[in-house]
């Protein structure tokens, strides 16, 4: 059977990219001209990671991702006829001059766990109950339906709904490289256009 994604890469993205997507998008808001361009850059980041042979050799994930995003943005600049002066200045946000020592694995793991639990705690009521039963308590779909007094059809619907909501919230709420939680600025960058 064809392997579509290497499990090691999925795991790497889960640990080193997803929790920081919100922060990355916040930095991109300073250099991209609109929300669509931020989405394009993010999409390109995922596409490039997908093509990696392996992730074992990446010693500093944060630096790696920032450098990758910076390169994509610079490529984007070459295509744009107008580039804001402030955008070029904001490229500095993607430099990692002083790579902070990676937090102790235990602490990083704990922070990541809290982040995922937070994503679940923000789901609407019935959806949240289903996710807690299925994901935290590891109950089967059948047992979840019985335990919550729902039909399996409803459990399936709430599962899909929850996944969509979680996917959206990952773009908005995440961890900050360095540990504390951050909430990204919604939507558009505040930089005004100016001809260069």
């Amino acid at each position: 059977m064809r392997q579509f994604l290497a499990p090691a890469i999925v795991d790497w993205v889960s640990t080193h990219l997803l929790p920081y997507e919100a922060e990355l998008r916040m930095k991109l808001a300073g250099v991209c001209k609109d929300a669509a361009e931020i989405d394009d850059v993010m999409q390109e980041v995922y596409c490039r990671i997908l093509k990696l042979e392996s992730v074992e050799q990446i010693r500093e994930p944060r630096e790696y991702v920032l450098r990758m995003a910076r390169n994509i943005v610079i490529d984007q600049f070459r295509h744009n006829t107008v580039v804001e002066i402030e955008a070029v200045a904001n490229l500095d946000e993607f430099n990692v001059e002083d790579p902070s020592p990676s937090p102790e694995r235990v602490a990083a793991g704990r922070a990541e766990l809290k982040w995922v639990l937070g994503l679940i705690s923000n789901l609407p009521d019935r959806c949240q109950q289903v996710f807690r039963a299925r994901r935290i308590y590891g109950m089967s779909q059948d047992a979840t339906a019985k335990s919550l007094g729902l039909s399996e059809n409803v459990v399936e619907k709430e599962t899909m709904r929850g996944m969509a909501l979680i996917s959206e919230s990952i773009a908005r709420t995440g961890m900050q490289w360095g540990g504390d939680a951050v909430k990204s600025r919604a939507g558009k960058p505040t930089v005004r256009k100016r001809h260069v």
Binding site: Y46, G109, V116, I120, F131, G138, T159, S167
Partner: protein, 322 residues
């Protein structure tokens, strides 16, 4: 949310919670290859699934079903929680023990399936286990080894290479060690069936006198707990047939009717009963979706010219002998 993002999430949900038919697999492959943005969105969706998998509590930390209901009731009482930035724990989850936060060195994780249910679960070491219905798998990943106990049912393992940590599956008295590979084990009362789809495994028994035996892709063996020797057959077609459940199918090639009925009954609450003993050994060829025993019964009606009665709890094949 973009259409691609939605599609990617739908595929992930479908793949994790239900068996994919060959048609589904083909549709997925076509979608994945259609555009690079699909593949990227799929990677992100898979990573989300992986993040959610990491928070499942170990079995001994889970409260009883009654407690889960109390939690649900409490939630209904107090209404929606206000938006809270990551870091706040939901009610009832504050008790998550620290060991649940170290997926690399987690204690036993128990994965259960109900009859007819299918689960595909990634493990913390990047291996994947596809669990068939009515099965139970215990996963213990330590610094030195990766140990899996198949206490009931059947599972197919795709093992991530890790020379420093052997991946060993124990099913009753039968042990299977993987050397970077994919293989399935089905537990029976007095032994286990081992099927290798990729790479090489080593098989031995805890209490039998049989020597350790190597098996490679395309081979299968039924290993009794007290085996004096391990007989291995090389039949790649038979391997695919035995593991068709991974795609939600049952494939019969020269199987006896009674065995086919038993296979369906593994998965479905509505049991196939063969009334006429003379029909039990009749052989046939066919492939069916696991959740469609009625189709199978229909075909038997046509093939054998016997009456078939589809009831609420049973599907009876053949006339009752008085």
């Amino acid at each position: 949310m973009s259409k691609t993002e939605t599609e990617a999430l739908e595929w992930v949900v479908r793949q994790s919670h239900g068996a994919m038919t060959p048609q589904d697999e083909a549709a997925f492959e076509a979608w994945f290859d259609a555009h690079p943005s699909h593949a990227g969105a799929y990677l992100r969706a898979r990573a989300i699934e992986r993040s959610l998998d990491k928070i499942t509590l170990e079995e001994n930390q889970r409260p009883s079903p009654a407690a889960v209901q109390d939690g649900a009731h409490a939630l209904r009482q107090h209404g929606r929680r206000r938006f809270i930035v990551a870091g706040a724990a939901a009610a009832g989850v504050a008790a998550v023990a620290s060991s649940a936060l170290l997926p690399r060195f987690a204690g036993p994780t128990v994965l259960n399936t109900a009859k007819g249910e299918f689960r595909k679960v990634p493990l913390a070491d990047n291996s994947t286990v596809s669990i068939n219905g009515a099965s139970r798998v215990e996963v213990r990943l330590t610094r030195e080894e990766r140990r899996i106990a198949l206490t009931r049912g059947e599972a197919w393992f795709e093992v991530a290479k890790d020379k420093s940590k052997p991946f060993v599956v124990q099913a009753g008295g039968v042990m299977v060690r993987a050397v970077g590979t994919a293989f399935a084990v089905r537990r029976y009362g007095d032994g286990a069936d081992v099927v290798v789809t990729e790479g090489t495994v080593e098989v031995w028994t805890a209490q039998g006198t049989a020597q350790k035996r190597r098996m490679t892709a395309g081979e299968h063996a039924y290993v009794p707990d007290l085996a004096a020797s391990i007989a291995v057959s090389r039949e790649p077609e038979e391997i695919e047939r035995k593991l068709a459940w991974r795609e939600g199918m049952l494939v019969f090639r020269d199987q006896a009717l009674a065995d086919a009925a038993a296979e369906f009954n593994r998965y479905n609450a509505r049991a196939i009963v063969i009334n006429d003993p003379r029909l039990r050994d009749r052989k046939f060829v066919g492939q069916y979706r696991i959740d469609q025993p009625e189709r199978f019964a229909d075909d038997m009606h046509s093939l054998l010219g016997v009456p078939v009665v589809v009831g609420a709890n049973t599907i009876e094949i053949g006339q009752r002998i008085r």
